[in-house]
Amino acid sequence: MLGEPWHRIISITSTDPDRSPARHPGGDYALDRGFRGIAWTSAALILALVAYIIVEIGGKALPAIAEYGFGFLTSTTWNVQEGHFGILPEIWGTLYSSLLALILGGVFGITIAIFLTQDFLPSRLAVVFRTIIELLAAIPSVVFGLWGIYVLIPMLRPAANWLHEEFGVVPFFGTSLSGPGLAPAALVLAIMILPTVASISVDALRQIPYKVKEAAYGMGTTRWEAILKVMLPTAGSGILAALVLGFGRALGETMALAMLIGNSNQISLSLFAPANTLAALLASNFPEAGEVEVQALMYAALALLAITLVVNIVGLAAMKFATRKFEAER
């Protein structure tokens, strides 16, 4: 799957050698060679950089891996004094908050993409809207965090506490929202991944040839049938890519979460309980960590990398599946 773009590049360059006018064959050849060299080097450098980062983190984490082994991932204590480290609550919090964010951000992001591409708005206005949404991506994470603390939490709290009072039996509402907690963190995360999801979905929907839509209308579909049954499935792989990227961003988001999630070392189903994520754990514990704790934190970083990798692989596989199913019929 990863090799596919390479295939395309190579096939373009190798099958169309006569495309460039052969007036200065020597010069063009050098340019071609040079460009290809630069492209290869850049690509190789990126791979080397990723490999270097993984080796560096892995090397620093090695003592911790040797000491705590697999139990690190399943234990729930983080006690520097006694040297017990475990990140199960953080893994849980990372996945739980990101999943909630993905559901919220995904639904809104795709809806916005449909709204912007399917002729609901004059195209100029759509461009303005899209720019505004992409501006969200330019807001620094720490501002989102402060906004969460001073605006979102006080707004959310009465509703959350009402839910807890009335439906406290439901595990999702098992605690009241005291301040920082999972719900405000997930909401802010959803807003933060919204621009990613929306703008990539917009691109995916824009790429559909106009004739597809005309054909759908020509077959007598209503507007909603065309959107839901033709346009969305056709853009399926692009939208999936948007969701995967958004999820990846949510997994790694740090500052806003460190401020909003409540740094609590526990596993709870409740949406309003304080929790913790891997990235927030790293951010808040690194500054004062001693040698032993740094090793444990490196191990946690490695776990976060692994989770991101798994999510991306699963996402790519899903995309491939979607591409085969829907786009082959183009």
Binding site: N79, Q81, G174, S284, P287
Partner: protein, 354 residues
Amino acid sequence: MAMRWLLAAIAAFGCTAVVPLALGQNPVSADPSAKGQVELRGAGATFPAPLYQKWIDVYTQANPNISIKYQGVGSGEGSQLFLEQKVDFGASDAALSDAQIAQAKAGVTLVPTTAGIIVLAYNLPDVKGTLKLSRDVYADIFAGKIRQWDDPRIQALNPDLKLPKQTITLVARKDSSGTTYALTNHLSTISEAWRTQGPGIGKLIEWPGISTVARGNEGVAGRIKHSWGSIGYVEYGFAKRLGLPMVYLQNKAGRYVEPGPQSGQAALAANVNQVPSNLRLFLPDPDGEDSYPIITLTWLLLHNHYVEPQKGMALKGFVDWALTDGQRFSGDMGYIPLPADLAMRARAAVDAVQ
């Protein structure tokens, strides 16, 4: 991290509001022994940090040739830095354990500097009036056995209050802390269950309830201020500066005592005769009718020998001043001045430092 900055800023804002009150009164005896510029560095407990900072400001103003830097990094970290000789003096609310004292290469002198009470501050915006908690109830709250504010056991102690149906969120210390040590030492003394099945005594423990952690006394106080339904433990002054309501706790004699310098003073006065020769006095459950139940002394950690005599002299001068003239700042800032005879013994200990 940004959260911490923010909370530190809030706490600092609180401090600056107190400082001008005490600034008027500072004729300090200049120390004749220290010549030339001397820089002293110390680190440790956050619990007495505002008071130490005040002492440092006043003292260095009168002795411009001395500069002192104190960092509130928590008792655990401070003791560690002191034992590694990375700072000239340390500070800890848990003193040092015998094992730690044995590690100190240049020897260690424990100097009690002030005392303070640890209050249980809470945030229940709709609850007006004073909240009272009995010994078994607050032990069970920290043990995670009572998880809702409207628990019948809390309600029974406070028949006049309308307690909300909210989750109790514990706010605890994230860093290794002498405040945590003093609280868990107290809980372990009053509660059989805490002693035998609970998380035990320590500067850093695993809290069983719904808990969230913050760094330093100022961090905990700030977190409580922002979190409804929360309860946490901080030194009295930090809670007072942020205007947090504090629980009236039941003491050993069975009475509910208002937290404050008076009840702390009473606790210290009633038990000061127990001070051992190394000045390491813990009062996990003080006797006395009017005693506030959770109280701790806080110590400066000095090396017995200073390689640079200038540093030793300057530090001795500062600590001696803090134990005499400096004590009058304690009360204003919510701490408890040392009883005169304990201060005398502490000065004698300082005098032996070389």
